[in-house]
């Protein structure tokens, strides 16, 4: 085919996808006209700009795209008129451009309801990066925000206003958010999540007028029910309208509810003029999502290249993460009435709502909504589309993943995995068969998971299934040097009594080891009380921090964290730490675990610092180890009017018992003196909460990246019962967890979960309680402060020199001063 000139009006996500796809055919020279001054960017992920994603990261046009000579980008320009007969367009700068094919991808614009005062300064829409920048500027130093509209985008905007520090209200006319997609049950459950975020939701009410403040900009919103809300920043998110003005003026046929009317070939009523994306009205309907736009692009490019594909419309199923909550709707999601049977799972405690709508006559799945847990979405959607046979046990799919036994639901090839980029399960399977072995590979090869990222967990799960079925062992091997899992290696080392790396490698491994297996073996040997961790060939196994018994910072210096058992510290010790910091020029900060971090120490200074710490009656805090860190406590019954037990005393007892205990990952504990729980013990690996008659024991809690409340393991334990239970629990975890697996993740992966832990700890179903206690006892008996052990031995000490041939020299990091202390420059 002869090269043809393709003119694309609009450079949004769909317009850019058209350019990319058309260039791939190499049949077109392209002119793109974009109204914004920047080339296309990911509007779906717009909110992430507030979280620090940069304009460059959001851009859909890398330098190589813009450098492609076959496409010319006219940005900051608008098409003002089309001359259909001459096949030319006129831009707003009066230049005229001819075309063989013209594609309208002008998208849509936000609808601003004509509420009096809607145009006051301080009122915005939420569509472009410029909008976001203006919102952020307006929010500076202000306190309250309003979002008009409780749909998907409105809630996202509300989250952004909240993150900007505004006390945020959402006003929605319907009785609950996202009525069209989620229906009543799902919408009301989503409202609970919104409430949890601290966003105030006002449903079932209309906005009457915006009132200006003294400076003339918006200050308050008057609602129809008489309420008045403070309104420093207002964002309208009340739906979108297709931008069809250009087409109207050119005399193109327009849909009843707006939009440029297209047929199944995406042709408009004018020859050689096409429309895709949100501006196109297909069978009378405009889509406000990116996925249908992308699908239209694929059809149109195929057509323009000589194919005869037809666009048959899009299913509106979506799954996304909204405000951190999994939300999905599929098929006839809100179908209701006498001819519908509904299967509902409603769990207000965990804020999960799942509803399946079945045809009452045939039992066929018609659609559904999932809030708080969207597991099973891909399969359920495929069932509604008829791509896969309906499983006999379908009603069981209403249960969330945590409750439902994992079903072996084989997804059909045409099921959509990534709806943003229209990547099907089949495409992923093909990529895996072609050698993609990681989620990163799949993203690079297929674009799946690169827009909103919501499908990445499903992508990972599919990858694992596919690798297994292809016979690629999804092995539990630690690394290329050991075929064993950590759990197997632990058993081997313990059973055979290995004491050195050389023995372990000789008996069970190959090669020289690596940065994965060496620290793992180091940790196992240490957990089995193998003595000073830098003696013999163990020194060659210790990871960065363990290797120098201090935490390496980003400029190569170290931090020193002395142990402060239970967070109890004397005035003299506080003074001593202050003096040490002054003497060695260290930055000081209180840690989350009730201790004091001294940062910026040079390698060669570490022994001198430790000596002073030990002289002050303190010792190593093992902040550098995958080991017990701290036991946090409140002041308990000693001081507190409400305390019922001596939480500080118990915290110190536990910290001194388990100090230095190496584990698969760090271990944190907490002890609270009453159920007010000021020590936040239920966020710890081991949490102890006082009761009138003893201690409640919680396990496997976690803060950090994936917060998890601890599970209650036992109630009203006496002191010695408590210690025995923790001994057994910790050693069981140390024996059976994977490397770098916190107790929370370990519990989730453990067959039988918390009940199994209870069976092992209290009923000794495995018959190992004696061994677990003996292992712990050996640890307690052989514990020594690693700093003291270093200082006592000149050979060990010689390791703490920066340059082996110039002991008096040291590197010179750049420091700057911030808030009166020195920090890395």
């Amino acid at each position: 085919m002869r090269r043809r000139k393709l003119l694309v009006a609009g450079n949004g996500m769909v317009g850019q996808r058209l350019v990319d796809r058309a260039l791939a055919t190499d049949l077109f020279d392209i002119v793109v006209v974009g109204e914004e001054t920047r080339p296309a960017y990911d509007r779906v992920a717009l909110s992430s700009w507030f979280e620090g994603r940069t304009e460059d990261e959001l851009s859909l046009c890398g330098p190589d795209v813009l450098a492609d000579k076959r496409a010319e980008y006219l940005l900051g320009r608008r098409v003002d008129a089309i001359d259909i007969d001459r096949r030319t367009v006129t831009l707003d700068d009066d230049t005229v451009h001819d075309y063989h094919e013209l594609v309208l991808a002008t998208g849509s614009s936000p609808f601003v309801p004509p509420i009096p005062g809607h145009d006051l300064p301080g009122c915005f829409v939420y569509r472009t990066l410029d909008d976001l920048a203006a919102i952020r500027e307006r929010a500076e130093g202000r306190t309250s925000g309003i979002v008009v509209g409780g749909g998907l985008l409105g809630l996202e905007a509300a989250n952004a206003l909240r993150a900007l520090g505004l006390d945020t209200h959402v006003v929605e006319m319907a009785p609950y958010p996202m009525p069209q997609q989620l229906g009543e049950g799902g919408g009301r459950m989503l409202a609970r999540w919104v409430d949890l975020l601290g966003v105030h939701l006002h449903c079932d009410v209309t906005s009457e007028r915006f009132a200006p403040g003294e400076d003339g900009s918006v200050a308050a919103l008057h609602l129809a029910d008489g309420a008045v809300l403070p309104a420093d920043v207002v964002v309208f998110s009340a739906g979108v309208r297709p931008r069809d003005q250009l087409a109207r003026e050119a005399g193109l046929e327009i849909g009843d509810r707006g939009g440029v009317l297209v047929d199944d070939t995406l042709a408009t009523s004018a020859p050689n003029v096409w429309a895709v994306g949100e501006v196109a009205a297909h069978r009378g309907r405009c889509y406000g999502l990116v996925a249908p736009g992308y699908a239209m692009v694929d059809i149109l490019v195929a057509r323009l290249s000589g194919g005869d594909e037809r666009y048959e419309g899009n299913d509106l199923s979506t799954k996304l993460k909204l405000l951190g909550v999994d939300v999905a709707s599929f098929g006839a999601s809100t179908a209701d009435g006498d001819d519908i049977d509904e299967v509902v799972y409603h769990d207000p405690v965990n804020r999960i709502f799942r509803r399946l709508a079945l045809d009452a006559a045939t039992g066929r799945l018609l659609g559904g909504t999932l809030v708080g847990d969207a597991s099973g979405y891909e399969l359920l959607r495929a069932v509604t589309l008829g791509d896969v046979d309906q499983p006999a046990e379908l009603p069981a799919y209403v249960l969330p993943a945590t409750v439902r036994p994992p079903a072996d639901g084989e997804l059909p090839d045409n099921a959509l995995l990534c709806s943003c980029n229209a990547v099907s399960v089949g495409i992923i399977r093909e990529a895996v068969a072609d050698g993609a072995g990681t989620v990163g590979d799949l993203k690079a090869c297929t674009n799946a998971g690169t827009s909103c990222g919501g499908c990445v967990p499903a992508l990972g799960a599919l990858l694992k299934t596919e690798l297994t079925s292809l016979g690629v062992a999804v092995s539990s091997a630690l690394c290329e040097h050991f075929d064993h899992s950590r759990q197997e290696l632990f058993a081997l080392i313990r059973f055979r009594g290995h004491r050195t790396w050389a023995e372990v490698l000789e008996a069970h491994g190959t090669g020289r080891g690596c940065e994965i297996c060496r620290p793992t073996v180091a940790s196992i040997l240490a957990s089995l009380s193998n003595g000073y961790v830098l003696d013999g060939d163990q020194a060659a196994l210790q990871d960065t921090n363990d290797h120098h018994l201090a935490n390496m910072q980003r400029n190569g210096t170290y931090s020193v964290v002395p142990r402060v058992p239970g967070g109890e510290i004397t005035p003299d010790q506080l003074i001593a730490l202050g003096q040490i910091a002054k003497d060695f020029g260290l930055y000081t900060k209180i840690t989350g675990g009730q201790r004091i971090d001294l940062l910026g120490a040079q390698l060669s200074d570490l022994p001198l610092i430790w000596q002073q710490v030990i002289d002050a009656g303190m010792e190593s805090g093992h902040a550098y180890g995958k080991a017990l860190r701290t036991v946090k406590s409140c002041v308990g019954s000693t001081w507190c009017r409400y305390g019922v037990q001596d939480s500080v005393g118990m915290a110190i007892l536990l910290e001194e018992r388990y100090r230095g205990l190496r584990a698969p990952h760090k271990v944190k504990m907490g002890v609270s003196g009453c159920t007010r729980e000021c020590a936040e013990a239920q966020a710890k690996d081991v949490g102890v909460v006082a009761t009138e008659s003893g201690w409640n024991l919680y396990v496997c809690g976690n803060g950090g990246r994936s917060p998890r409340h601890a599970d209650l393991l036992a109630t009203d334990l006496e002191d010695d019962q408590l210690v025995q239970a923790i001994d057994r629990f910790l050693m069981f975890y140390i024996r059976t967890a994977d490397r770098l697996q916190r107790t929370s993740v370990w519990l989730d992966s453990l067959d039988g979960g918390i009940d199994h832990v209870s069976d092992v700890v209290f009923d000794d179903v495995l018959g190992i309680a004696g061994e677990l206690e003996a292992d712990m006892d050996r640890h307690v008996q052989t514990y020594e402060c690693e700093w003291k052990a270093t200082l006592a031995d000149p050979e060990r000490l010689s390791h703490f020199v920066e340059f082996v041939n110039a002991p008096d020299e040291r590197s010179t990091p750049v420091w700057i001063t911030e808030r009166g202390q020195k920090v890395p420059g």
Binding site: A431, D434, G435, A436, G437, G440, D441, A444, C445, E480, H481, A502, G511, R512, G513, C514, E515, R518, P519, D537, A539, A540, L541, D543, T544, H547, H548, M552, R554, N555, G556, H799, E802, F803, V804, N805, A806, E809, S811, P813
Partner: protein, 132 residues
Amino acid sequence: MIDDLTDTDLAAMATAVAPVDRLPLDRGVAALVEGEPVAVFRLSDGAIYAIDHVEPFTGVPVLARGLVGSVGDVPTVASPLHKQRFDLRTGVCLDDPDHPVRTWPVEVADDVVHVVHDPHLHSSANPEGPPC
């Protein structure tokens, strides 16, 4: 090892680091070579390698404090900061060929390890893209 060099030759061309048996096995030490920090590794099979001590991703002198290991037959050290692995023989970064470090020749004379003042930057191996 070059046996025909006199001690004077070596002193002019190289910097003494430490007696061989003072270097820990499968670990690195840092040395100053004409003012430049160099990381020297002695492996358990007897091989001794020297590369730049400065980690090229951050510019921080720490590579001698990394973990020694192997990838296939390649002896490696992993950065103690973010675990990128470097081929001890060539200085090539296995995880990002755009960030190699220099290698320094090593000589042992009278059981003392010396680093020769002649660093080399090897051209990076061709990176493999994603398998598609």
